[in-house]
């Protein structure tokens, strides 16, 4: 039994060493320890009042980073569905409506939700330089009694 456990430990250690070696050799290696989450820059986020003004102005695009089912169940009126987890499938349909210079407000739901952060990063990589994030977007918007829609249409 002791022998089995010792061997089991060897397997775990060897696997860990292999993994670390493979990561160290990979051109897309990730840091050994997860870097602490950078606090969102104030220019990255948009407060509810400002988001409301942008929404009323009609020049900004609101992009919903959540899954399609969540979008269908309720979203900010006029927001386009761009689920980050199916980005490649949805982006081609959304792209013609956006422009690189337009203001894009991304949101998901919940203080811990990282979908909108990922959508923001992705859009910035594609050259959209004016992307802002409405933290805890759906709940904030919805509980402020602002206009929402359900279904597939924006």
């Amino acid at each position: 039994m002791a022998g089995t456990l010792r061997r089991a430990l060897v397997i775990v250690m060897a696997g860990a060493v292999l993994g670390l070696a493979a990561n160290a050799l990979s051109p897309r290696r990730i840091p050994f320890l997860t870097p602490p989450k950078a606090p969102p820059q104030s220019s990255d986020t948009v407060a509810l009042d400002e988001a409301k003004a942008l929404w009323g102005g009609g020049t900004a695009f609101f992009l919903d980073a959540r899954a399609t089912a969540d979008y269908r169940a309720g979203h900010i009126a006029g927001a386009l569905s761009l689920p980050i987890e199916e980005f490649d499938d949805h982006y081609p349909q959304i792209q013609p409506m956006l422009s690189l210079d337009s203001t894009n407000v991304v949101y998901c739901d919940g203080m811990d939700c990282d979908l909108s952060h990922r959508l923001m990063d992705r859009l910035r990589q594609l050259g959209y330089h004016n992307v802002r994030l409405l933290v805890n977007g759906w709940t904030t918007w919805h509980s402020a009694g602002l206009m929402t829609h359900t279904g597939d249409q924006p």
Partner: protein, 160 residues
């Protein structure tokens, strides 16, 4: 009985090898493009899947994502090859207990997150299906770790 154990070993070893290769090879399924196998592993997504469980301390999520697939590959490979059968079954049993605890934790907290069970190819959310699947795998692994019939290792140990 030996044949049953052999089949069980092949099943569970195969599942672990598959899940490891998908994570390491960053296999993607995209609509219209079929299955794509990236020669350059990218662990970012898997690390994110691990982080979503909020189980390991934040700093350790990357370490888990870096090492876990290779431990799975090694243990699954050895089990299929019939080398260190009991030891690799013990490793897999321990991993299954950890996976079950993580899934239970996510369900108990109502996290709506990707399972990540089979890397990025697996967009399933954490749920009862994943829980049930893992229970079956745990049962098989635990059986292989404890059963006497297939344990040539144990007989050699006691004979010595």
């Amino acid at each position: 009985m030996r044949i049953v154990n052999l089949i069980l070993r092949l099943i569970i070893g195969g599942v672990f090898i598959a899940s490891a290769v998908i994570k390491i090879g960053n296999v993607q399924v995209s609509h219209g493009h079929g299955i794509q196998f990236s020669p350059v592993p990218d662990l970012t997504q898997f690390a994110q899947d691990v982080a979503n469980y909020h189980v390991p301390p934040r700093a350790l999520n990357n370490l888990v994502a870096i090492t876990l697939p290779w431990i799975e590959l090694l243990a699954g490979g050895l089990l299929v090859l019939g080398i260190w059968k009991r030891a690799s079954a013990v490793v897999i049993t321990a991993l299954m207990v950890v996976f079950l605890a993580a899934i239970g934790w996510a369900l108990a907290h109502g996290y709506d997150i990707r399972c990540g069970c089979f890397g990025t190819v697996d967009a399933r959310r954490v749920g009862i299906t994943a829980l049930a699947e893992d229970f079956v795998l745990l049962a098989i692994a635990a059986w292989l770790a404890w059963c006497r019939e297939d344990s040539t290792e144990r007989t050699t140990e006691t004979n010595q």
